[in-house]
Subunit: 399 residues, 2 copies
């Protein structure tokens, strides 16, 4: 996502009445009972799990107003407001910007914190506060690296539900997520149908596309074959920045559309009238943008986490997991009132894929609405088409 | 291109009557008069230029039956028949397969060598026989590396025309090319309108798309930032194989379509019923395919040449070069009877881009026909949809 891109407008400072203001991430340790560790879908076992999360608004007395917001691939728990204490190099980038979905979350906004208790949880395996490959393995005193067990979308849903239970939420009013966050939302509603009242899935689906699977595979290949990767045991030394940069640049292309790339850069040269005829220097604005994206990304994200995140996305296949390959049978589990939103130029989670899910839900008799928003912004549209998304969420949450 | 992929069927052995049989590449030194070196569009100067080429069939007495076939990004001069003497590691792969367009070129085939004198020239900057960054610079006695001047599509057209002149061809009966080869064909017809009787452009256009530009940029970034790149001066030592592999894997995705990826691999696991939950090993057939493609590619292609080829493709903008940005004005230069062929699922040179060119040619009053072939094979379709392409070329060349 171009969460850190130039498309995200800063709408409100921390003192604005529509802002949740200054925020502070919280941590909770889960599965601390050694007799009941977290058994992952991969078969891996995690003794204790620390999760980082943020909350906005207050849980009401009936505990009926909780909305879980799920972040995308390289996102974090800081969804709204301004971070009080960005910690560590990987989080330095937070300083200049509000939370990644500040446009939607706040008092009087679409996800109204005067009405809702909003929770956003950093996923397991991430590098933004929840336990992950960069965390210390208490048994060795060293970072896990690739000895960290493989995690899945199902595990993420499980951990987030566990946290919600501890926060006193037995049933979610709604779960909302885009892209990878949409996969988590769907999985939550499938795994805990009685505990999810409604869900909004943006630019996501029941599986990644074939192209998505392929691009993720190439991204991991680039990281794993980076000279500095050292089987993931690179902490304390040089990181596989080159591989991570390549993965990010490639992914960045999949977040935009042919039209938005044309609109943003096209064939414009970078600060010159005619080309310098150089192979290794920047000629086109396009190259400059992609390089810049990569540079800022490798400063803030850990390569191992990138492997874990993309693998989890790739493994996820709701139909396979819940319906022996039958998506309608899968959808029949659902009890949540649902809205699915796609964007016309999104080719990472294209409208056709979203419609597959929606059709299955219709066949299964689920209460589902579907909107395909005309947009040129590609996959990033779910973060960029603020006005359309804001209206849809507002109406959906009104009921 | 998946020239080396599993989609290319071996139709005829060298002894088959429809095969051009055993072939032998030829070399010619051009611009050997030191008073008249090759002045490139980049401003670079090359003293002598060696070009590797192959010919099939015979030039008739009027020298009116020459057909130039232009190869794609990582192709070579060996377009038809079976190579008599594949030389060097980079060319080892030729042994088991006929030329890359053997399905079209031969006695009685679409490009009928009983009628036509067919020429295919390896482009300048390549690693397949023509002078390029891996060639020895006679002034230093060492490989050029990145001191080799930047070459352009215009330079390629110029060199190929020079060779044709030396072969006694003053006017081409036809020029035919796909993808990058189509760019060369178009440029030839624009630069030498009196010398090109007709042209067939397959899966190509007057420029690359914005996505094409972006993917090429990422590919080069991966190569240039490979630990072993050493500013292109890696000959004799380890090559930047990792960067080249990443570039190729990514490019490979752009040669296929969502549908063909699904048909070939989908989400199928590689030799197992359920995933092993590993980050660094192969899980999906998709990963296995891409890795295999990369492995075979880095054995046969030089990273520096990859930089030169993709840069040339990126720079090319026929409208900018010939019509101050006006494609109709550009097309007005053309005298060649033209057929443009696109394929419905090609998203590297998509039908819309081809139609831009065709529309401009129509507005300029050019004799042009256009066919959009329904195909699921993506960009590779121009090599895979043999039957449809064969018929179109046969009919076009009949006149």
């Amino acid at each position: 996502m171009s969460v850190d891109g130039d498309e995200v407008k800063i709408l409100h400072g921390p003192d604005h009445p529509l802002s949740v203001g200054w925020t502070k991430s919280q941590k909770m340790t889960l599965f601390e009972d050694s007799a009941q560790p977290l058994i992952l879908e991969s078969g891996g076992i995690l003794g204790t799990v620390e999760v980082e999360y943020e909350t906005y608004g207050r849980l009401n007395d009936l505990a009926s107003n909780a909305v879980l917001v799920c972040h995308a691939l390289t996102g974090d728990a800081h969804a709204a407001g301004w971070d009080q204490e960005p910690a560590g190099a990987l989080r330095e980038f937070r300083k200049k910007k509000p939370g990644w979905w500040d446009s939607m979350i706040g008092p009087g906004k679409a996800i109204d914190t005067k009405r809702f208790f909003v929770v956003c949880v950093n996923v397991l395996g991430s590098c933004y506060g929840s336990t992950g490959p960069g965390s210390l393995n208490s048994e060795t005193g060293r970072p896990w690296g690739l000895s960290f067990p493989v995690v899945t979308v199902g595990d993420w849903a499980r951990v987030q539900m566990e946290l919600l239970t501890r926060l006193g939420v037995s049933k979610l009013c709604s779960v909302i997520g885009g892209s990878m966050g949409g996969q988590i939302g769907l999985e939550l509603a499938l795994a805990y149908p009685e505990r999810v009242g409604s869900m909004i899935i943006l630019s996501a689906g029941h599986r990644v596309t074939n192209q998505g699977l392929a691009f993720n595979a190439v991204g991991r290949h680039a990281i794993i074959h980076d000279h500095n990767f050292k089987s993931g045991d690179y902490y304390g030394g040089p990181s596989p920045l080159m591989g991570l940069a390549a993965a990010r640049m490639m992914a960045q292309i999949t977040y935009l559309s042919e039209e938005s790339l044309g609109h943003k850069f096209g064939r414009r040269l970078r600060g010159k009238e005619s080309p310098d005829f150089t192979l290794t220097e920047i000629e086109f604005e396009m190259e400059s943008y992609l390089s810049h994206q990569a540079e800022s990304f490798v400063r803030r994200y850990d390569a191992n986490s990138y492997l874990y995140m993309t693998r989890a996305m790739d493994y996820y296949d709701a139909a396979e997991k819940w319906g022996q390959g039958d998506l309608t049978k899968t959808a029949a589990r659902l009890k949540a009132r649902t809205m699915v939103v796609s964007f016309t130029s999104d080719w990472l989670f294209p409208p056709e894929l979203c419609r597959e899910l929606v059709s299955a839900m219709c066949r299964a008799g689920c209460p589902v609405s579907y909107v395909n928003i005309p947009s040129r912004y590609g996959h990033d549209a779910f973060l960029v088409e603020t006005e359309a998304v804001r209206r849809l969420i507002t109406i959906f949450l009104k009921d």
